[in-house]
């Protein structure tokens, strides 16, 4: 497998007994994230057995079904609790959690902030498409103010969460934001997130044309990708803009990178010292 790349590499990691093409709509970014995840794991030289992908419920949750690692499809909002158990029992396993914005920040919001606070050594990929995709397009905690959704036909009136600020405040060790348009940078962030100790979060801006785009004047999936290309910009560029210009942009890059010891590390140290009678 060593010298494989591109589509050939991805095909190598897919579960060949699953139905393809996958279930995601035409132009859904979730497929691109799946590719990026595969390249990142391959790039780190991990074997399939060393990796466990834990997914929640939502279109994003389907990702785990297609890829030939240890995988668990869990309940809505609880992927991180399952992942915490797996990591505590198998601290050498690379546990990667895949969640939607609704899965991670609405029903699973409490688990997300506490996973960050505990600094459990898992890597969370938050596929932020600004909407509940699977259940028909209700607004989610990241739906921008003013955006149209099935449950905000006159425009969303609530404020939205900024995943990066939330995770920074909750003290995650690694916090980054990328997009499915800027894929090579995304590969790098996922690799860094996996290699970094403690809780890592990579928020990934990804389009859902079916539920979000159509209601918000993006006529085609391509329009959604053009929008991501133009709005998601590097933190460095973002910081040079005026406040007014910043309002319509989303900064991307690595926001936090620390090596505070992880929960499982501390736990195994404590267990060893108890057994050693120290």
């Amino acid at each position: 497998m060593a010298d494989m790349k591109g589509t050939q590499l991805i095909h190598e990691y897919l579960r060949h007994n699953k139905k393809f093409p996958h279930v995601f709509c035409a132009g859904c970014g979730h497929g691109i994230v799946l590719g990026s995840l595969i390249r990142s794991i391959h790039g780190l030289g991990l074997s399939k057995d060393e990796v466990c992908v834990v997914a929640g419920i939502g279109c994003s949750g389907r990702l785990a079904a297609y890829v030939d690692f240890n995988t668990v499809h869990t309940t809505h909002g609880r992927a991180l609790t399952f992942a915490t158990g797996i990591k505590m029992a198998k601290p050498n396993m690379h546990v990667i959690v895949v969640m939607g914005d609704g899965d991670s920040m609405a029903i699973g919001g409490n688990h997300l902030i506490h996973a960050a606070r505990r600094n459990i050594g898992v890597t969370a990929l938050i596929l932020n498409n600004n909407i509940y995709g699977m259940t028909g397009g209700q607004c989610s905690p990241t739906t921008p103010s003013g955006a149209f959704t099935m449950t905000s036909p006159m425009g969303q009136m609530e404020q939205s969460f900024d995943c990066v600020e939330l995770m920074t405040a909750a003290k995650a060790n690694y916090v980054a934001r990328g997009s499915v348009f800027h894929v090579k940078k995304l590969d790098k962030m996922i690799m860094e997130g996996i290699s970094n100790p403690g809780f890592g979060v990579v928020e990934i801006m990804t389009p859902c044309h079916t539920q979000y785009g159509r209601k918000n004047k993006f006529k085609t999936p391509v329009d959604m990708f053009k929008n991501i290309k133009d709005t998601v910009i590097s933190i460095e560029r973002y910081n040079q803009l005026s406040e007014e210009e910043q309002a319509s942009r989303i900064p991307s890059g690595v926001f936090v990178q620390k090596d505070t010891p992880s929960l499982e590390e501390k736990f195994y140290q404590m267990a060893a010292s108890c057994q050693g009678g120290a």
């Binding site: 494989m4 591109g6 589509t7 050939q8 991805i10 095909h11 190598e12 897919l14 060949h16 007994n17 139905k19 393809f20 093409p21 996958h22 279930v23 995601f24 709509c25 035409a26 132009g27 859904c28 970014g29 979730h30 497929g31 691109i32 590719g35 419920i57 279109c59 389907r62 995709g133 699977m134 259940t135 028909g136 397009g137 499915v180 348009f181 894929v183 090579k184 044309h209 079916t210 539920q211 085609t220 999936p221 391509v222 990708f225 053009k226």
Partner: protein, 108 residues
């Protein structure tokens, strides 16, 4: 990545997997692909391909492969995957996956 000059690559699109999202056609610097009247991507100007890799990295359905011209065989793993794919094809390519998801795969 292979040599970034024109005309050294073969671009293959697996029609059973392509859902016609149009990303490859819209962003390819050489305008190598177009959508045909069935809404599938087809290669129209292979000689303009500069092997930038954009289409392979961004096709959400892993339906494009760019290879050096010298490799005339499709790799065995891809052939196997594609043959399996040819045996089914009731996937809606029009963005109705969400409805399909909530109706027969999972009661949200």
């Amino acid at each position: 990545m292979s040599v970034k000059s024109k005309g050294n690559s073969t671009v293959t699109i697996f029609p059973d997997w392509c859902k016609g999202c149009g990303i490859c056609a819209a962003f390819c610097p050489g305008k190598v692909m177009e959508l045909n009247d069935q809404g599938k991507a087809v290669v129209v100007k292979e000689e303009e391909c500069i092997s930038c890799g954009f289409c392979e990295l961004h096709c959400p359905d892993f339906a494009i492969m760019v290879r050096p011209k010298a490799d005339d065989e499709i790799p065995a793993v891809c052939r196997a995957v594609l043959e399996k794919a040819a045996r089914k094809t009731d996937m809606p390519a029009d963005g109705s996956a969400a409805e399909k998801n909530s109706s027969d795969m999972e009661k949200g």
